[in-house]
Symmetry: C2
Subunit: 245 residues, 2 copies
């Protein structure tokens, strides 16, 4: 069984208080960058892997998607997603990203927001996404940046004054499991190098369209701690396209 931290009541409660959980897309620091990379959804069939509260599913439907499928392993997340969803074009399916039975040539767009760093076999998922996309279809996803996941603690290295001195990078080329701390809880995550994130895609048959390391929106820079977000990349957004071989 895959780790299902989001059904842990304490973790779920803490996650529910994050600004991205309360305010949705506008509360997510990377949304202004992710949004730019999303294709036109009009009339499209969309799959959202690790859909959580369904914010991206509802956005796709609002933008004209004909059919949206949100997949998540957490019952609690999906319950909340359903409560917030009115559109008949959205269906939620409880499954892990690895075990979802990807139908062939079924989707125009596959999206995933900050979920793949929980997936043990990123390569297998990419190959299944490729098969599940129609020709010309787009795959757009965000993950925690390899600089952020490499060392494992996911925290700054602090100086004697208690302030962040710099961001520590270590074990970069040692890929695989990390015992990270997220919202005060131990969470299993997976670190992959940038090379792996990109080359698995090209080897699966995708063309690379765009790679972005989102920075905070300039309007947010005066919020407490936000300038530290300019000191190291935290996320990586990748846009790829299924093109005929």
């Amino acid at each position: 069984m895959k780790e299902n931290k989001y059904d842990d009541p304490q973790f779920f409660e803490q996650y529910s208080k994050m600004s991205r959980s309360v305010q949705g897309l506008e509360g997510a620091g990377e949304w202004h960058e992710l949004k730019k990379l999303l294709p036109d959804f009009t009339g499209k069939t969309v799959l959202d892997l690790g859909c959580g509260f369904g914010w991206h599913c509802r956005y796709a439907a609002e933008q004209g998607a004909a059919q949206v499928t949100g997949v998540d392993l957490s019952e609690k997340m999906l319950k909340r997603a359903k409560e917030m969803t009115r559109s008949p074009n959205i269906q939620y399916i409880r499954n892990s990203i690895e075990d979802f039975p990807y139908p062939e040539n079924a989707f125009d767009v596959v999206i995933s927001s900050l979920a793949f760093h929980y997936v043990e076999n990123y390569g297998k998922v990419c190959r299944r996404v490729y098969n599940s996309l129609k020709d010309g279809g787009y795959f757009v996803f965000s993950v925690e940046h390899p600089v952020f996941t490499a060392q494992g603690k996911q925290d700054w290295y602090y100086g004697p004054d208690g302030k962040p001195l710099h961001w520590p990078v270590d074990n970069y080329f040692t890929e695989g499991c990390r015992n990270a701390v997220f919202l005060g809880n131990k969470v299993k995550k997976y670190h992959w190098t940038l090379t792996t994130y990109l080359n698995v895609l090209t080897e699966a048959g995708f063309s690379l369209c765009h790679v972005t390391e989102p920075q905070p929106d300039p309007s947010m820079l005066d919020l407490p701690g936000m300038r530290d977000e300019l000191r190291r990349p935290m996320m990586l957004i990748i846009k790829a396209r299924k093109t005929s071989r």
Copy 2:
């Protein structure tokens, strides 16, 4: 005038002692990865930006290139390059990467090894390379990795025992000049984010073919200090292609 550190006698002497200077391509830790990304050179017209001692120029000629142009700002580097070159298919031109008068639709392949982190206007160079490539031509280059250049000191953060504790990353999104130390000398380098390295290419019209963070060849891992090279990425190799718009 561009900084021309390689004509500084002391710096030149130290650079000349590096294994990549003495042994050539086989003495360069990233060569086994760069080599894989180079296209077929048979009958091709090739430009090498920042050619140094001309190792890559001679390799291209040996692989069948019809004509190879090596560009470098350093007179001392080019003098040595010419001394080591027998092939009539190779010409060396003394100029900076920025000021070289890129002829239009002239080259099948443009390569550059570890030179662009000295270039102040990376974007301008990429756009000129695009115009100077024939349609379908390849642009393959290596640079110091943004993780390596971000903080500026280009050194480990050491623990109390004097051993490398981790690699410090800071000021990642603050692009531009860094006063780095290389071979004990102060050298001006430029830091660009991964986002910039890739998006400047796609905006210029290139398709991204491959991105690799080279690791040491497994056969080299028992050399002193080599295992530390697995702790952080030091280089980035990018392969892009000029495709019709």
